[in-house]
């Protein structure tokens, strides 16, 4: 129990430190790399919450691919962020942040404690899913049986969303033959 608290406190402190560094840094490349590190610590956080599948996804998508895609997009961006002087807009932003954070913290007092058996999440369908996963589907990983079988429609929707997003980016950015190969051909002529 104590060990878990120490690990969680360490991870939260680490995430907070990284977040402060992200705010402070002005170089775009350090922001990207720090965001990747943040995702990696978030993945560790999910492991400590026993959500291994989510942690796996966070580590591969959040820390891996999205960092690479940001780096690939880096060359369109200016190398450094412009320093902006403190003005009225910032006061509005600070007020909004404080109000929203206050509301969220206030709302969090109504949440049940994590990992308690009598929580509403564990009362309704969870029991059926866990039993059905063993008896009806015969798969040890309950996450997979919920993802692919019980909630097959949702996953289909997710797949189609990813497909559509990919197609949209291709329509916007992909221009058939790459310009390098065109230039190569012209040079060869």
């Amino acid at each position: 129990m104590i060990g878990e608290i120490i690990i969680n406190a360490f991870l939260v402190t680490l995430m907070l430190t990284i977040a402060i560094f992200i705010i402070n840094t002005r170089k775009v490349i350090s922001t990207i790399l720090l965001t990747g590190t943040y995702s990696l610590v978030a993945a560790l956080m999910f492991v400590s919450l026993d959500a291994v599948d989510v942690a796996f996804t966070e580590a591969s998508v959040g820390a891996g691919i999205s960092t690479i895609l940001f780096l690939a997009a880096l060359s369109y961006l200016p190398k450094e962020e412009k320093e902006e002087k403190f003005n009225v807009k910032h006061i509005y932003a600070i007020c909004t942040c404080i109000i929203v954070a206050g509301l969220l913290i206030w709302a969090s007092y109504d949440l049940p404690l994590v990992g308690q058996l009598e929580n509403p999440v564990h009362q309704n369908l969870a029991q059926d899913f866990i039993e059905g996963s063993r008896n009806h589907i015969g798969i040890p990983n309950v996450v997979t049986s919920i993802l692919a079988s019980y909630r097959g429609y949702d996953t289909f929707g997710e797949t189609v969303v990813i497909y559509t997003a990919g197609i949209a980016v291709l329509v916007l950015l992909y221009d058939g033959v790459s310009k390098t190969s065109k230039i190569h051909k012209e040079n060869n002529k």
């Binding site: 369109y76 589907i137 040890p140 079988s149």
Partner: protein
């Protein structure tokens, strides 16, 4: 990039990364993993290859046409598995009728569906990288 160590390491690592992706894909029923993660891992192998060698070299092993075909095939496979169930007289996306027993049907259905997810995710990631990279090089050469 012209670094011998990077090139050799990439060539050595390329196959194990894809193998690990396939392990995550097909072991998703028994441990953590599944289509989304596996797709990203396999895509990472191709992106690594494209970064260390060049995008043109990567297009030789994964041609854009094949990439787009597989991208669409993944989503199609998912929907098609649902339709097979529909034809055999079950609700859409219920896999009970796909096998000889209900359990076998569920196994086959989940395996196919996850494979569809993996295909789509992997090829979307690769095509995203292709389009970003293409855009880049064009810009640099125009300068």
């Amino acid at each position: 990039m012209d670094n011998l160590i990077l090139k050799v390491c990439t060539k050595v690592l390329f196959t194990p990364i894809i193998l690990f992706g396939l392990y995550v894909q097909f072991h998703g029923d028994f441990g953590p993993g599944g289509g989304f993660q596996a797709g990203v891992i396999v895509a990472a192998a191709f992106i690594l290859y494209a970064m260390v060698f060049s995008v043109e070299d990567c297009k030789v092993i994964m041609p854009p046409k094949l990439n787009f075909f597989l991208l669409a095939l993944g989503a199609f496979l998912y929907g098609f598995v649902g339709i097979i169930g529909l034809i055999l007289g079950d609700p859409y996306l219920s896999y009970d009728v796909l096998g000889t027993t209900k359990e076998a049907g569920q196994h086959i259905g989940i395996l196919l569906v996850e494979f569809g997810v993996g295909l789509t995710v992997c090829n979307v990631m690769i095509s995203l990288f292709y389009s970003f990279a293409n855009f880049n090089f064009g810009k640099k050469n125009n300068d």
